[in-house]
């Protein structure tokens, strides 16, 4: 899932300084699961903002609502009747949600309350680790299920480099060397041949905004036109 963390409070407060009536919008999917931007986090943030603005003698009126998914127009529809009465929107969704919200209400200033951090896994409650950079060219089959793009600090395709430090990455003793792990995993599976061949230069697919249309589907405008 997408992992986010809340922005520093002062940064959020600063963004909202010119506004006196703001709707804080949570998202009920990824950011709710990773405890950054769900219904509960919306309530906490609003309470903090309310308190801080009162202390500043600049009170703010805050609304709160959490939609199922901010990255889906269908779920944003419910907001249409609400946003009109607010000066600005504060989104606690990931960057995708923030942008969809801003696209739907182009005349309304929309501010992000979280920093979208990575695609990751839930190691324990409140503890998340990055696993995927969505590079569009998955090589996990070759590398024993360990991503060199994400887990190797240099994103090497023919590792490990000379900085491997007793199984750790050169950047940090607590960061395992991805290629050391790849070697161990493939060795265990008797599949080291998989990385003996040279991986050629990657034809990066993530250097411009990407669109996916699954087989059997069309862009909505094309579908409407009956193409």
């Amino acid at each position: 899932m997408i992992i986010a963390k809340r922005k520093p409070f002062e940064e959020i407060k600063e963004m909202l300084t010119p506004y006196n009536k703001v709707l804080t919008l949570g998202c009920g999917t990824c950011v709710a699961v990773c405890l950054a931007g769900g219904e509960k986090e919306v309530a906490v943030l609003n309470a903090e903002l309310d308190m801080a603005r009162k202390l500043d003698n600049n009170p703010i009126e805050l609304g709160a609502f959490t939609v199922e998914r901010q990255c889906d127009m269908e779920y944003l529809e419910v907001l249409d009747s609400m946003v009109g009465e607010y000066e600005a929107l504060l989104s606690m969704a990931c960057g995708a949600g923030v942008q969809f919200l801003a696209e739907r209400y182009p005349e309304k200033p929309v501010f992000p309350a979280v920093d979208t951090t990575f695609i990751g896994v839930n190691r324990a409650v409140g503890w998340y680790e990055e696993r995927c950079r969505s590079c569009s060219s998955c090589v996990l089959g070759m590398t024993g299920g360990i991503c060199p793009v994400t887990m190797c600090a240099k994103g090497l395709f023919n590792g490990p480099c000379g900085g491997t430090n007793k199984g750790s990455c050169e950047i940090d003793k607590d960061q395992p060397c991805a290629w050391y792990l790849i070697y161990e995993r493939l060795s265990l599976q008797g599949r080291l041949d998989s990385i003996k061949n040279i991986s050629p230069a990657v034809e990066w697919q993530n250097q411009a905004p990407r669109t996916v249309i699954q087989p059997g589907y069309k862009k909505p405008d094309e579908a409407e036109a009956g193409n």
Partner: protein, 307 residues
């Protein structure tokens, strides 16, 4: 001849190669480069010019290489994958060759986190093995990575690094094989201190016949002090400094550690001259360039061959 560089000619002729290293300045003055070069001139076959080593900004490697050529030395142009994408790499290679650079060492590069701009965006568009393949393609096929033709392709003698000491040890020889397959004509190893491990590594290299496919230069860095030895042992990732060496340096007594460090280096060089598969030594006398003439003299590698 692939490049006709002095280093290539020395190695092709079967001489035991001896290369040095020099770091470009943290500013625009060439005086320091000239001074360091003066200690190396006539004592080495080629000089590696580092590329923002330890991820600290310095003068461009190719620019310092040009200065070295003007001083009458042959540079070995180092290029790391951290700071440039494939476009910048290929354009720098064209420029370097046009200015007379004939040797190039392809490296991954230290992570930017270590350097003076720790939050810089690391490029790593391609890795060191892909870079080797790209330079080879430019030379042998006269084509850019994209496949487009190059007018008057750069004919470089292509080098790579190898660290026999970084884990997993068993994989190191296979990674070396990948580098040779990708295009490495010569290899310069990480600084060697653990001779037992290096002997084992070279045995595996010879068993696989890799020494017949490229020239392997053993990396030597004399220990200047006990502090340096301890730093190398504990702070430099992928470095293997056995405790026995630290004890030996310690035992040398006050004021004599540097001499003991040189003695150890000289013993290493003697052994490398006889070691199967080793074609030369790469002497990395870091900020100790003024001691290179003495080390070369005492290592009996002078005069350098004229080829």
């Amino acid at each position: 001849m692939k490049s006709g560089s002095n280093l290539e000619k020395v190695l092709e002729a079967g001489h035991f190669a001896f290369t040095g290293e020099l770091g470009p300045p943290r500013g625009t003055s060439m005086e320091e480069v000239k001074k360091k070069a003066s200690y190396l001139k006539g004592n080495v076959d080629a000089v590696n010019i580092t590329d923002n080593q330890t991820a600290v900004v310095r003068m461009a490697s190719w620019a310092a290489c040009i200065m070295l050529i003007r001083e009458g030395l042959e540079p070995n142009f180092q290029m790391v994958c951290r700071d440039r994408n494939r476009l910048a790499m290929q354009s720098d290679i064209l420029g370097a060759y046009a200015h007379g650079i004939r040797n190039m060492l392809c490296l991954s590069g230290d992570h930017q986190k270590f350097g003076d701009h720790p939050n810089a965006k690391g490029v790593f568009d391609i890795d060191s093995i892909q870079l080797l393949g790209m330079v080879k393609r430019m030379r042998d096929e006269g084509r850019f990575l994209s496949g487009a033709e190059i007018e008057d392709p750069p004919r470089l003698f292509i080098g790579a690094a190898s660290n026999p000491f970084a884990e997993p040890f068993e994989w190191r020889v296979h990674r070396l094989a990948k580098k040779i397959e990708a295009g490495a004509d010569f290899i310069q190893t990480q600084c060697i201190y653990n001779m037992d491990k290096f002997r084992e590594f070279m045995k595996r290299v010879v068993d696989m016949g890799l020494h017949e496919k490229c020239y392997i230069l053993a990396g030597v860095t004399p220990m200047k002090s006990l502090g340096m030895a301890r730093y190398m042992a504990t702070q430099v990732p992928g470095m293997d400094v056995p405790d026995s060496l630290i004890q030996r340096l310690k035992g040398a007594g006050k004021g004599k550690v540097a001499e003991e460090g040189i003695k150890f280096a000289l013993e290493q060089i003697e052994e490398f001259k006889e070691m199967e598969g080793v074609a030369g030594v790469h002497l990395m006398a870091i900020e100790w360039e003024h001691r290179v003439p003495e080390i070369a003299e005492r290592a009996s590698v002078l005069p350098r061959p004229e080829v």
